[in-house]
Symmetry: C2
Subunit: 321 residues, 2 copies
């Protein structure tokens, strides 16, 4: 059954990524105890590891497709996975840093995340800012170090991955999206914005979409995808990211704090622009379903249906938390 298979893949991804991060994140005495502790507190907080799963699933799908012609399918898949693991871990570090900073009082002011007090509640705002800064730097160090090889082809892919992730995380991507979100929430001094449907889509495309796209694309790059194939993976992930955000908005209306591990109803309480607020719940669900249809069509056309990418899209479409 596809569902069981995906569960197993996600479980293995989580174990693999957590193990690599545990080994790789620096410890005292190399780094001061407090900042090491604050970084680990947020990294090992029971996240779903969706972004690393996308990276490894994309690498796996590209390797499966390449192996169709040859007989060394298993070797290709293992090699692709090993080469993509550092990118998978780095993307989770970037994602974690963004959560730590977004939770700050100066931003979304969240005190609960994944059922635990947020980093700034435990360590104070200053250390939380530094932990986030440190996680971003650690992500790029990891990307440039691993996989540790002098193979020029792999070096070129690593540089392409760093460009892709830095661009997605930066002002043209995640950081820019969060800035628009702050303006829309009236939290930027004298510089408020009101978002219409296009503005909302553009904000989410930057804030969460860019890193989700980079997650899938970098898996494809590290597995050696050519440009058309990497573009197909990127297009799939763009629709996946939009579906993810619409479902997130729907869950904020329909979910409860216990399942979500965070405060539900927060969007409505903060008068945030959301898909349900703009389109109503039914139309929002329809929009999410359309995104998933496009995901499948893109994967099908690119010969990437074999593997976990489609199952991940189905999971995102149906997730309850």
């Amino acid at each position: 059954v596809a569902g069981e298979t995906l569960d197993l893949f996600l479980e293995r991804t989580r174990a693999r990524v957590d193990h690599a991060l545990e080994a790789w994140l620096p410890r005292p005495p190399r780094v001061p105890l407090l900042v090491s502790e604050a970084m680990r507190y947020s990294v090992f907080a029971g996240g779903k590891r969706l972004r690393p799963a996308l990276t490894l699933a994309a690498a796996d799908a590209v390797a499966r497709r390449a192996a169709l012609a040859g007989d060394d399918a298993e070797r290709r898949r293992v090699e692709a996975r090993d080469r993509a693991l550092a990118a998978a871990c780095a993307l989770e570090l970037i994602h974690t840093y963004s959560l730590v900073h977004d939770d700050l009082p100066a931003m979304d002011n969240d005190t609960l995340r994944r059922g635990r007090p947020t980093a700034h509640v435990v360590y104070g705002d200053g250390i939380a800012i530094l932990a986030g800064d440190g996680l971003q730097a650690a992500a790029f160090e990891l990307l440039a170090r691993e996989p540790d090889t002098t193979d020029p082809q792999v070096a070129a892919r690593k540089l392409q991955t760093i460009v892709t992730i830095a661009h997605a995380a930066g002002p043209a991507g995640m950081v820019g999206g969060q800035a628009i979100d702050l303006q829309a929430a009236g939290q930027a001094t004298n510089r408020s914005l009101t978002l219409d449907a296009d503005g909302l889509r553009a904000m989410h495309a930057k804030k969460t979409g860019a890193i989700i796209r980079a997650s899938a694309t970098c898996g494809a790059i590290m597995a050696g995808a050519d440009e058309p194939l990497a573009s197909a993976v990127d297009a799939y992930a763009a629709d996946l990211g939009l579906a993810f955000q619409i479902v997130d908005d729907i869950l904020d209306v329909e979910g409860d704090a216990e399942t979500l591990g965070k405060t539900a109803g927060k969007d409505a309480a903060g008068a945030k622009t959301t898909y349900p607020a703009l389109f109503g719940l039914d139309r929002s669900k329809g929009l999410a379903a359309e995104c998933l249809d496009r995901c499948r069509a893109t994967l099908d056309a690119a010969g990437l249906l074999d593997g976990y990418l489609w199952a991940i899209a189905e999971w995102v479409g149906g997730r309850r938390s």
Copy 2:
């Protein structure tokens, strides 16, 4: 005269780096106006560009030394400078991001920097945090993109530069040093520290020293320095960074706000551990002079006295702001 020559080199470096950053920093509509504005506000705030100057001076010194045997000295120097320019700019972006974050109310709570209101005063804390985050991401994107060549040797140097800068900026370096500084200032929830002389030196080695070392070392790397030569540049910069910090502490006692462009006497007011507080002014000046002596000896032994590295050290030792 050496002083005049250095002034010209610094002026040219500033023009070259500002021009490159102006062209390279993303603008609307690629990035949202507000975050672009906040990033530029802090980047173009009249900084001394010490770190880029170190990068270009190190690249220049390594190229001069390599050219001693051949007759293409000028070509080598231009090539080294061009290859090191992206690293020089990236290091200034990292330095700027650290200033924006360190100035936040949750950290040092500075409202004046280089004679102007700090970013969070102008844009609010949330946008200032994001501008800093965006500058860090932009730095790594720049490092991975430029110089834009498929030469495997240059690609390997770019990756080495990214490792060096990310490590220096991260929890083992700058971020870790600032965390220790926050603890020493009693600003980390329930986790205060008291610094003795060794602790103070270790804190500064991380907080400002790591990026100063990376600035010089990456110039050497991009110019093709071998390991012993890059290590000599690193050792020079370690002493330079320590001298820089001791002089900074002395200036906080002796300087005035008008010359410094920031609030003087702030260290004493905040009961911060400083070199003058631990050793007195005279012994502090002696310690700075000892650092400079070591700088010169290191450069001399490595054959790197030709160029601007020694003049930069003299400038750091004698600076008034």
